[in-house]
């Protein structure tokens, strides 16, 4: 390992309005080194990488690659300097082949003809060298998530990347695929590449990195050799305080409130439900774990009413309900916290008031004979803002202008205020800071205390383990048998997530 850094960031700062996304961040990356960039969601990891990669321009600071300064705001320059990036959301064109995606931008745009032969040859070579098997002629839309990630890595290698940045690469992988990825990374490092591995998962960071940098609220708050630290120390650095798991009292399970019997759906966001049965009972939090894209989105959409079941039955409080829809769900006391706050949970260009009444604007409380009572609506908005501690300029402000945490608090307020019997919480803490996460957790636990049935869908296994009275694992559109708190080990859950266990029965 030579001492000259392959990458040096000096004094990087970036603000978005009042938010300091990055505040005077400096570090070096050495040849053959794996740095883990650890931090909560919103700590500024992605912003930093976007600056490094030229998608954003820093307000201050410089980036040097191999001793040469990198011109700001130019992705091309980063690529040419040998920096490759594997984004959390893949940057692949689904309508094109693997080979076309890899070749994109690697040959002069004005060539009269794409040289496919050399592309194919080079891909075959790289695949063999690094053990990244993928069919170059396959259309991307036909590939699995793991294969797509391999294509992303090949894209970087094809461009002779010497530095590889991976942004939350394991979020979409099964534990087995994650292991395979780690093997690939080891191979890359052995061949002299340097890697920045962005994550908020402590065990992965411990497993794969040489050195850990901890980001919190836009600042670099810690830097340590992986060998000389432990998870506890890292967690404390990352969160900035002693991490205390939420206090959970024993569950007081009541009657079944929402029952799905043998429901199936058409594919939705990558997976379909296949003959799924699920019972949610009063006073109990059911945690649904699983790797993204295994049908959680379909299940959430089904319960929310936006996706139709192709078969099966849905009953609420013992009675079958026909024609399930968002309206019917709401009318039966099913509250929904959607996965995507921006695209689904709120209407960004409408005001806080207009968003807060959205699920109940037709009720007598807010409307009379087709006319809306804006006064009542505003009062309600003010109440939610006060009760749920939302920071916003006024109820008239466009909700788009609120931070993620405040937006989520409003959605919680909207959903929980009518004291619903059933609560569907789909990735309710994704992208929130620690304080907001704790708040959401408290609210869900409080709802359970008053006897609501809660379904918590999350890709964050730690969250599931902390909150759930009962855990079910979803894999390939099917559910595992439920297990009580502490019954299955993380390893066992991991195997279920990978779909290894053939067992399958109705989670009754």
């Amino acid at each position: 390992m030579s001492d000259t850094p392959v990458l040096r960031l000096s004094g990087i700062s970036k603000r978005f309005g009042p938010l300091r996304a990055n505040d005077d961040i400096s570090f070096d990356l050495k040849r053959g080194e794996v740095i883990a960039l650890l931090g909560e969601n919103g700590a500024g990891k992605t912003t930093l990488m976007n600056i490094l990669f030229g998608h954003y321009v820093a307000d201050a600071g410089t980036v040097e690659a191999f001793g040469e300064p990198l011109p700001p705001g130019d992705p091309r320059a980063a690529l040419d300097a040998g920096i490759g990036m594997v984004h959390q959301h893949f940057t692949l064109a689904d309508n094109m082949t693997v080979q076309e995606n890899i070749a994109l931008g690697t040959q002069s745009l004005w060539r009269a003809r794409l040289d496919r032969a050399s592309v194919r040859q080079r891909i075959a070579q790289l695949s063999a060298d690094f053990g990244l098997a993928v069919d170059p002629a396959a259309t991307v839309s036909t590939l699995s998530v793991g294969e797509r990630q391999r294509v992303e890595i090949l894209k970087a290698l094809y461009r002779d990347a010497r530095i590889l940045i991976l942004d939350e690469p394991t979020a979409v992988l099964t534990p087995a695929e994650t292991d395979a990825l780690f093997r690939t990374l080891k191979l890359l490092v052995a061949k002299g590449l340097s890697i920045i591995f962005i994550s908020h998962k402590l065990h992965e960071v411990m497993a794969v990195s040489d050195r850990v940098l901890v980001l919190r609220a836009g600042r670099l708050v810690g830097e340590c050799e992986t060998a000389s630290t432990d998870r506890k120390e890292l967690a404390a650095l990352m969160v900035g305080q002693e991490v205390k798991p939420a206090e959970v009292s024993p569950a007081n399970v009541g009657a079944p409130l929402l029952v799905l019997e043998g429901v199936s759906t058409a594919p939705y966001n990558g997976a379909a439900l296949d003959d799924v049965s699920l019972t949610l009972s009063a006073g109990e939090i059911t945690g649904l774990a699983g790797v993204s894209g295994n049908g959680q989105a379909a299940l959430a959409a089904l319960i929310a009413g936006t996706q139709r079941a192709t078969g099966g039955r849905i009953s609420v409080a013992g009675r079958e309900v026909a024609g399930w829809s968002p309206r019917v769900a709401l009318d039966h006391g099913v509250a929904r916290i959607p996965e995507d706050r921006h695209a689904v949970g709120t209407i960004g260009d409408m005001s806080v008031t207009e968003n807060v009444i959205a699920e109940r604007y037709g009720s007598p409380r807010f409307s009379r004979m087709g006319f809306l009572d804006w006064k009542a609506a505003r009062h309600f908005a003010e109440k939610i803002i006060a009760d749920y501690d939302v920071k916003c300029p006024s109820p008239e402000a466009r909700i788009r202008l609120l931070s993620g945490g405040n937006m989520q608090k409003l959605i919680l307020g909207r959903a929980l205020d009518p004291e619903p019997a059933v609560i569907l919480a789909s990735q309710p803490t994704r992208g929130l800071d620690v304080g907001a996460v704790a708040y959401v957790h408290r609210m869900l636990l409080a709802a359970r205390e008053r006897g609501a049935a809660v379904l918590l869908i999350s890709e964050d296994l730690e969250e599931i383990l902390a909150l759930s009275d009962r855990i079910i694992v979803m894999s390939k559109g099917r559910l595992s048998t439920p297990s009580a708190r502490g019954e299955r080990s993380i390893r066992e859950l991991g195997e279920l997530m990978a779909g290894h266990s053939g067992e399958r029965s109705d989670a009754a």
């Binding site: 978005f16 309005g17 009413g305 309206r327 959607p338 695209a343 689904v344 209407i347 466009r398």
Partner: protein, 349 residues
């Protein structure tokens, strides 16, 4: 460069930007006037005088604004819900057709009953005409822009067919025009001997009603929600497709009222030049008003003034009256940029 959301604009800013858009438009159009070898100042003065320089000019402008208020409202209502109704022209003509079909003696009713009946019939026809594209959009995913545009051509040919066939006036000396509507079907003039008619008042009332609907009612709320974020609207239980249907009915009906008002209030009969592109100009009117129904009144009068004024101007100066169309089209584009700038800040780095 990138766009960054700004906090809600103040009222002053909201009003300042449209003004800036109009100034920008005038500057751009000045170049054309110069190219035509005339002085922009004298041309703009002539346009202004032709539009509002006398009682006659002013009344003419208001008369011309009447159909534009209706089509502007039709577009404003539809665009709010992001239903891209580019077919106001066709809906206008269908409204005119219903007015002459029922207004030329088929219904022996007194004025006080006949006129509301004609209005209702025209609205129903226009509403149904737009319902087709709305259904195609929601059921089959066919883009309504293209279908409403194509329907404009189909309907105009259909009207031509009627005017050379069943609706042809036997006393029309062979011209493709319908009979005049009966006296009971005519809207009274607001001032004796002038062309301004009751249609203008109906248009103002329509604007107020539409304003109330959009601001105060559930439907208006639903329309806005669907327009801003259909997926989000669906999630909270708003029946998105139903709202789009209702929007289509309202929008088509309003555009058809323009046809009714032109036939009953001004022309008396149906011809193939009933509309001077009012359906298309309605898009500009609505955008200039930032889709605000009350703003539509002002922007329709403004746009009508440009057309009326430009007609007068082109008689005096040697600048083709098409300058009015150029001005109106330019103001549409400068206006959308202005609206963008009230909501976003452009950052160059």
């Amino acid at each position: 460069m990138r766009l960054e959301a700004k906090p809600a604009p103040t009222l002053a800013v909201t009003l300042l930007f449209p003004l800036a858009a109009i100034v920008a438009t005038l500057l751009l159009v000045s170049l054309l006037v110069l190219a035509a070898g005339a002085s922009p100042f004298s041309v703009f003065y002539l346009v202004a005088r032709g539009a509002a320089g006398s009682q006659f000019a002013l009344l003419e402008t208001l008369t011309r604004a009447t159909p534009l208020i209706f089509t502007g409202l039709a577009v404003a209502v539809a665009f709010r819900a992001k239903l891209w109704n580019i077919g106001a022209e066709a809906q206008l003509y269908i409204g005119g057709v219903l007015t002459v079909v029922l207004g030329t003696g088929a219904l022996p009713l007194p004025s006080a009953i006949l006129i509301p009946v004609l209005m209702a019939a025209a609205m129903a026809a226009g509403a149904l005409l737009l319902l087709g594209p709305a259904v195609l959009k929601t059921r089959f995913g066919v883009d309504e822009v293209v279908t409403t545009l194509l329907l404009n051509f189909i309907v105009l040919l259909f009207v031509s067919m009627l005017l050379e066939g069943v609706l042809k006036d036997p006393m029309g000396l062979g011209w493709p025009q319908s009979q005049k509507v009966v006296a009971e079907a005519q809207l009274p003039r607001l001032i004796q001997g002038k062309r301004l008619h009751l249609g203008f008042v109906i248009a103002i009332i329509a604007a107020v009603v539409v304003w109330i609907v959009t601001k105060k009612t559930k439907l208006g709320y639903e329309m806005r929600a669907v327009g801003h974020n259909p997926e989000g609207a669906r999630f909270v239980g708003i029946p998105v497709n139903l709202v789009l249907m209702k929007t289509a009915l309202l929008s088509g009906g309003l555009a058809a009222l323009a046809g009714f008002s032109e036939v009953s209030g001004l022309k008396g009969n149906l011809t193939l030049d009933l509309s001077a592109g009012y359906g298309y100009t309605g898009i500009v009117v609505a955008m200039l008003a930032m889709l605000n129904p009350l703003g539509v009144i002002a922007s329709a009068i403004f746009v009508a003034g440009i057309f009326v004024g430009a007609d007068a101007m082109s008689r005096a100066a040697k600048v083709p009256s098409y300058i009015a169309d150029v001005m109106v089209a330019t103001s549409l584009l400068t206006m959308v940029v202005a609206i963008l700038l009230t909501r976003y800040r452009i950052r160059w780095r």
